[in-house]
Symmetry: C2
Subunit: 147 residues, 2 copies
DNA sequence: AGTGAATTGTAGCATTGGCTACATTTGTGT
DNA sequence: ACACAAATGTAGCCAATGCTACAATTCACT
């Protein structure tokens, strides 16, 4: 009842079908918050694809109710898109911090996170969060040092 | 010079382009070792797709030199395919053991590993291996206990 | 206002990997 | 041997996502 399917490969394919949406809304959200707006060309540069690919994907995401835009205008997120972006960003950050915490170099952690994040389920995310909060303080802090 | 590209998303797409090959040769290798041969129907059941999809993918992997087969006959691996299978299985096992080690329930670990494995680079794999060998002994062992 | 560069959209093509329906081959069992 | 069931292949469809080439629009600057 929790996974989308009994077969692991079906789940992976379902994750991949969601992947583009997650990366795009996360990128739109970040750009809007950082530079005020998000243009097709910004997304193309960010994703490393042509503007044509972005344009078509934006259309699809608009049909799916995640994005709003008019021709030749910037791209914005719908409330639904914002929610997906918030979820994606949170998961992305947890995964990346986790990889850093186990000693993966920053550049490699950033790279691997971009793919790994979409396959991290609830249980795995919880395990990563738990690991992070456990190994949060290096050594000097003890429970008694709070007060 | 280590990653396939500067842009993380390009790397993810490159990983996805390799993903089918890795999962299929790993499956072929396992089946050959377990039940003596690997048929198209076995792969179809394992991957959760129709035999048609398997048949086309097997053709492509044969053109790529990973698989050998004749019409209506079982599927075998070429030496190149065996090497890729060995690499994939090793990485798969490390990732899965790692998820189990950080407390992910077995079923979820198996599921998430199927997707995550393809995005785990050298550094991340090394960090996971290191974590596994470090946290190998539950608690009683301390550095001084070696001698 | 007009012009030219930048941006975005459209047309058309390729690849991958899903599918159903149907054809062919294999092989089992009588 | 033959007939039928299982396995595999083929034809033809679809969706997603990559691309180049070209058309349309916007925008900044004179
Ligand atoms: Mn992300
Ligand atoms: Mn991503
Ligand atoms: Mn896999
Ligand atoms: Mn993936």
């Amino acid at each position: 009842m929790s996974g989308s399917s009994e077969n692991p490969f079906r789940k992976v394919r379902a994750d991949h079908a969601q992947e583009t949406a997650e990366d795009y809304v996360e990128a739109v959200s970040d750009m809007v918050h950082r530079i005020g707006e998000c243009r097709v060309r910004d997304l193309a540069a960010h994703m490393g694809v042509s503007h044509v690919t972005v344009s078509r994907i934006v259309s699809r995401l608009q049909e799916e109710g995640l994005i709003e835009t008019e021709p030749y205008r910037p791209v914005r997120l719908t409330p639904t898109g914002e929610k997906l972006a918030a979820m994606s960003r949170r998961r992305h950050e947890i995964v990346e911090q986790f990889l850093l915490a186990i000693g993966v170099p920053a550049e490699d952690a950033a790279r691997d996170t971009e793919g790994i994040e979409h396959h991290v389920g609830e249980s795995t995310l919880a395990a990563m969060e738990n690991f992070l909060s456990s190994s949060h303080r290096p050594a000097p802090t003890t429970p008694e040092a709070i007060e």
